[in-house]
């Protein structure tokens, strides 16, 4: 007999005890064309980690919308960037948001960074049947504050579709435009002046917006940045003092600087 009693502080076990399963679902061969979202990336800059994403969602050759927020604040010290199928990815974000806050409030201490990283891996593994059938694939990026070091340091993680987790060194990117972005980030890391780790917030935001501009030239599924049309990106930074959103107004100022 399966014990369905909730494990202390574990929101997923509370859901299971109430017979609610948020992610698992069977797919059908007659599944509709999937909506997908790309491109997201994160890199270390002088104050912490910058995480950004374009705002386009596509379904086949159709542009569904240019107003998607793919970088999501999970809690005060965690960020998630989603690439893949938004329906699944947004649900994963919601599960993580509720789980992390539930643990912090019920146990009166925040979840550790390794536990947060594994919680996302667990959701990806739960989504494995959908991933294997090519429906509902999600390849996210995660950034969290490591409080085991002083001062607390923001770290970037990336995942494969089966849920394997990897800590990124310097940067990570995911989605259809990620090839272009990885190449530029690698170049900048090796030869750039300044290197991303030395960039100020303004320089990092300007660099991130330019990365998306270039990526959108080579990938139709990546929405561009157009100051004239006031189309910008979703950009959040994770610093020792937590998450901060760089809004479109600030993005415009940094881009013009």
């Amino acid at each position: 007999m399966i014990d369905t009693a909730p494990i202390a502080g574990d929101f997923l076990s509370l859901l299971a005890a109430r017979h609610l399963s948020p992610i698992r679902a069977d797919s059908s061969p007659a599944a509709p064309v999937q909506t997908q979202a790309t491109t997201v990336f994160a890199f270390e800059y002088s104050e912490g980690v910058l995480m950004a994403g374009d705002r386009r969602a596509t379904a086949g050759n159709l542009i569904v919308t240019d107003r998607v927020d793919k970088v999501i604040e999970i809690d005060a010290t965690s960020l998630l960037a989603i690439a893949g199928v938004p329906a699944t990815a947004f649900e994963m974000a919601r599960v993580l948001q509720t789980s992390f806050e539930y643990y912090r409030r019920s146990q009166l201490q925040p979840l550790s960074l390794p536990a947060k990283v594994r919680a996302l891996a667990r959701l990806l593994r739960d989504n494995l049947p959908m991933t294997m059938q090519g429906v509902g694939i999600v390849m996210p990026l995660f950034a969290g504050l490591n409080h085991a070091v002083k001062p607390a340091k923001a770290q970037i993680y990336f995942y494969d579709p089966l849920g394997a987790q990897f800590q990124a060194v310097g940067y990570a990117a995911s989605g259809s435009g990620s090839g272009t972005i990885r190449s530029i980030l690698s170049f900048q890391e090796r030869y750039g002046k300044p290197k991303p780790q030395a960039m100020s917030l303004g320089e990092a935001v300007q660099f991130a917006l330019r990365l998306l501009m270039v990526a959108s030239e080579f990938d139709s599924a990546t929405g561009g940045v157009s100051p004239e049309a006031r189309t910008f990106a979703t950009i959040k930074v994770l610093r020792e003092d937590g998450v901060r959103t760089v809004d479109t107004e600030q993005q415009g100022q940094f881009l013009r600087a």
Partner: protein
Amino acid sequence: MIEEPYRWLEAIGNRREYVREQIKGGSPVFGASLADGILLLGVGSGNSKVFELFDRHALVGLGHPADIEKIRQAAIDAAHMEAFTRAPEDVSLRRLVSFGLSPQLKTNFEQIFSAPFLVELLLAEVGAHPENDLLLRLHFDGGFKTHSKGAVVVASQPDPETAAQSWLAQALADKADRGQVADLMLQAWWCLTENKSLAENPPSEDERRAGWRNAINGKIVEIGWLARQSQRQARFDMLTLNQVGL
């Protein structure tokens, strides 16, 4: 024995006396709706009086730690399930208490062969505007009263609680500064714990202030703040005396 109505009433009366006797040494706690948010205050040992429940909700209470913990956990479970299955905006203190906590407490209190909950509680929900704030005083027997403004005092005995509440309501009039409010709450806390009357001839302000300063040695003043405006979903923060300027 309890088949007879009189016996049952007597047993319930005894139970009420038993609960009040058990919690009579409990340290009073306070809540007040201010222009920028809701301030909750208790004096305990850290993580023992003031608790975050959900994005806009918090709890402050006195009584047996195990019983406070059970109710806190039940409220957190219910709030997060509601937020996940519907939306965070659907979590409301009125529903949480009137459909969840209050009936459970009442049932438990009237089951006279089980141990009663030894708690007195105040739950708070910060609104978009001060008039939308909700301070909900919940008793060990499931009875509750809602307040949408001013200050609420939670003490182990009803009469001193009423006296402290009316004194605090007058003293807090037009006070918006968190430091001033916390100072007045601590003055009331000292008077209640030292059995000083706040209704007739209360101690002077200097005496009250020196009293709480002296009495908190070795204790932790727990101050919870539910901010009305914030970029974050979670509006709750724990503050120190230094952070409120005391």
